[in-house]
Amino acid sequence: MGALDGLMQGFQIAFSLEGLLFVLIGVVTGTLIGMMPGLGPISAIAIMIPVTYGMNPSTALVMMAGVYYGAVFGGSTSSILLNAPGISGTVATSFDGYPMAQRGEAGKALAIAAISSFTGGTVSVVLLMLFAPALAQVAVSFGPPQYFALMLLGLTAISSLSDGSTIKALISATLGFIVATIGIDGQTGTNRFTFGNPNLMEGIDFLVIALGLFAIAEVCFLVLKRKDQSLSNQANIGNLKISKQDFKEMRGPMTRQSFLGFLLGVLPGAGATIASFIGYITEKRIAKKPEEFGKGSVKGLAAPETANNAATSGAFVPLLSLGIPGSGTTAVMLGAFLVLGIQPGPLLVQDHPDVFWGIIASMYIGNVFLLILNLPLIPYIAKILNISRPLLISLVIVFSLIGVYSISFSTFDLYLLLLFGVVGYLMRLLSFPAAPFILAFILGGMMEQAFRQALTASGGSLMVFINDPISVSLLIVSILSFVVPFIRGRKKTQ
């Protein structure tokens, strides 16, 4: 099936009444959750997973994709209005967005953000549509050694690229992998680290980890900051109009960052955060008036907003075509796929063209929805920021608990959720990044399986990883990806 036929089929799904309705629900809830300080796409996706039970998988995933980029967009709203980025991917947005809002041009800033997001999102969906099936065709020939090497690359890349200490990120990833070894071993049936507890035999559910490490841990910080009154003082956001001059300034960054952001999103480990910072820095470097950056520059706002949305679609390339998430957020998205009984990977385009093309078509529509919704409705949507923090905290806790309960129906998992909430809070307190943990936890089982399958096929010889050009080059890149920052760090301290 050609890309065009596929896309037509996808549009049929997305343009059905049901499809449109769920894209809309996804985008709106994503925006609302993403806007809450501290709650980003990971929490948004995890909270929404239980809602998809019993739904048709393609409709459900169309909605989840909407939640994902809705949440990325929602994050920029709180960055601009409150200087409180919900997630690291929109930190760069606040550099110029918040000064603009302080000047009384919050409306203009939000409009620029909406248009840049729309451009970045739409351009990169076109690229996604071209890239993902091609990559999937290459990946069909991949065997366990190549998959193992690829996943290892994803893990080392996210560890070396996450902010802060690389050692801490690697420890985080190792711990995530260790938690993934709990449960019955799939190949020999051995009970590993279950301590005879039947609840642990199937392993810990990824939702427990995702909601614990992200939503519940974030609740702890919300509790500490509950008296911050900064939430409600931006009631009036001013005019949404953008002048012709502004448009002219936006054009350059929007075009460049759509492509750059997409490429960075495809790379494992990079994602929206890195893309937005790199987008900001490159535009500042090539700008004629770099001194305007940081004081409410139009370019400085358009660049990260385009880049982070482009990267969001880019991150779908490895997820859809290889079945391997490159970031914490896409790792949780993979979990959502698996909950619905769909295994993304090279065969997805062939086996579930409705899902594959449905998601892509929904992204086109979702981007349009985001634009239509956000431009006129922003003053009203921003009112959600007036919700009292104590109330917000209790509601987030309840949502997380029901999310976990509705997949396992056991209170044991709820206690585990509480435990991982404490772990997540302590990790955040001690500057251990949580994204490598969740990525390693989700990749762990798959990596171990690929590793052992490769070794079983080779009769236990490690040469199987070295004899193949693809796996050996991936392994070399993954070793380099954390050795290089180490050496650079050493040099810096000397």
């Binding site: 239980p50 802060g164 050692i167 020999t188 109330l391 209790s394 509705s406 206690y415 052992r452």
Partner: protein
């Protein structure tokens, strides 16, 4: 601080390795279920040792983040306790009752003093969720004491 975390991690991985070596072994399997856990345990010890000698200093921001006033820790522990109680009573009392009580008291405890709107939210929010899950999504949340 890094040293303390490192020692904790080494103790943790030693325990994990000990358990890994207890795993049953099967003959004629080229790669047994204990290989990966053993490798992970050793890797973690290695990383913990690196962390122990890691001299890169913390930024002030990181240090400031760690300072949490005693009173606030007490608040966090109380919220944790409330969640614990909520889970403990969840299946016995049922979703509607526990959630309504939890939302009301937790919000009130954290400083939401508008008791009327608090009461309304604590009743409407769980009811909507309960209806959504039990009747639209067919996911049965615990019914508990109430007859519906």
């Amino acid at each position: 601080m890094n040293q303390k975390i490192s020692v904790f991690l080494i103790l943790f991985s030693t325990g994990y390795l000990y358990l890994s070596f207890q795993l049953k072994e099967y003959p004629y399997v080229p790669v047994d279920s204990d290989l990966v856990p053993k490798a992970l345990g050793i890797l973690l010890i290695g990383l913990a040792v690196l962390l122990f000698f890691d001299k890169s200093s913390e930024s002030d921001e990181e240090r400031k983040k760690r300072v949490v006033p005693k009173k606030e820790i007490l608040v966090l522990v109380s919220v944790g306790g409330m969640i614990f109680l909520y889970i403990f009573l969840f299946e016995g009392l049922g979703f509607l009752l526990t959630t309504a009580l939890f939302v009301f008291f937790c919000s009130w405890f954290l400083g939401y003093k508008k008791w009327l709107s608090n009461a309304l939210v604590s009743i409407i929010f769980p009811s909507v969720l309960y209806y959504l899950f039990n009747y639209l999504l067919q996911i049965r949340l615990p019914q508990g004491l109430l007859p519906f």
